[in-house]
Symmetry: C2
Subunit: 222 residues, 2 copies
Amino acid sequence: MSKIERKEREKQLRRESILDAAESVFFEKGLIASTMDEIAEKAELSKGTLYLYYRSKDDLYLGVICRGFDILIIKLIESVSPNVSTIQKLLNIGSAYYNFSQKHTHYFRMFSFLESPQFHTMASEELLNESHNQSKRAWDVIIDVISNGIKDGTFRENIDPVQMAIILWSNATAIMKLKDRKDQFWIENLNVDVDTILQKSNAMLVSTMLTENAKRYYQPKL
Amino acid sequence: MSKIERKEREKQLRRESILDAAESVFFEKGLIASTMDEIAEKAELSKGTLYLYYRSKDDLYLGVICRGFDILIIKLIESVSPNVSTIQKLLNIGSAYYNFSQKHTHYFRMFSFLESPQFHTMASEELLNESHNQSKRAWDVIIDVISNGIKDGTFRENIDPVQMAIILWSNATAIMKLKDRKDQFWIENLNVDVDTILQKSNAMLVSTMLTENAKRYYQPKL
DNA sequence: CAATTAAATGACTGTCGGTCATTAAAATGT
DNA sequence: ACATTTTAATGACCGACAGTCATTTAATTG
């Protein structure tokens, strides 16, 4: 009975179109200022219907976040697939993440939502898990590159890939967040270029990971 | 006329006692789940009165945040006042910040509030500025140590103190946040120790700042 | 001890996330 | 083709809560 399949497809389409509406409203107004009524209107549905597809406003927000992860993950995987050196792969990941934060600023900002449990009180376990799984997939890309880098002699043997991934990713995220909101912050008064900071901090961290041999081929600019 | 002065003092005391109430409720329930009615009850005042002293719930939250900054700033200043080497001062700052995040977790968590403008829609310019000023004061402590470190030959001449301060502080904040919420995250499944990560990342960053001379006296553990 | 000023109150309003009884539409069976 | 059942959609309604304001209470002044 393919009727059921078609039904399933249609349901999925509706879920997507609801996310489309939610996304455009969230992008424009942010989580707090967006209302379910507004999203419903944009989706050309009643508010009640939204709740047939998503349990809460938080869940809708998480749904959009997952879309962001989809994009990011694809970019990350693309960035490491060329057959290049480990160093180059790591640089590519950095660029991919940076470009993502610049081109998909709204998604990038939304990711912060996951970091403060007190702000997603109505989120369902289901969608929280989904988004956590996706963030894990992103991490895995970097962990993998670092692991291979250790095997091929680019990185020192005594570093832990997971540790390093966390350090590099956290650092990049923190600095990129800073860049995103620097205009409304005291930083704008000091003449610091956040892009430079990102580059330097990355170089500093990477340089301490390299083996003596690798340093002969690549010297990060400190 | 000292009557007016006394009035002013009393008003200030009331503001403080309102903050006491707000703090205990916010600590217990977080921003979203706390209600103005509950805070009013705890303060033994009516809700309306709260609004005579603070413009909004967000402002109350910011008021509590400022208290957190007061504590942190004192700890930071204390940590750099002993007459010790630059390196030791930097280590002290790190410890002070770390201890703060552990002993005053609630304040530490609340700081994130400042980072997402979309979550404080009702905050007044006034209190936002106050908290930003305080965060700047915290930064200044580190910037100062690094600046002096360059002068006394501990750190390389070609590093920028502001840049370095941002890098070190951002890194520490990011990792400490991770530690704070690691229990509800995929990290708990990997056997990584976040304290180690904090130590290592700090060591990595600091090691690239040192002059050749300074390295003879202090070798960070990578 | 009025008159005036300042402080405090809490009932009320508007908004909004979420619900559910009801209606509309689609699928199914004969 | 039509009745019956199942599924989808609706929007009026509810409860919670931030924020307001006319009114009351307390303090100050002359």
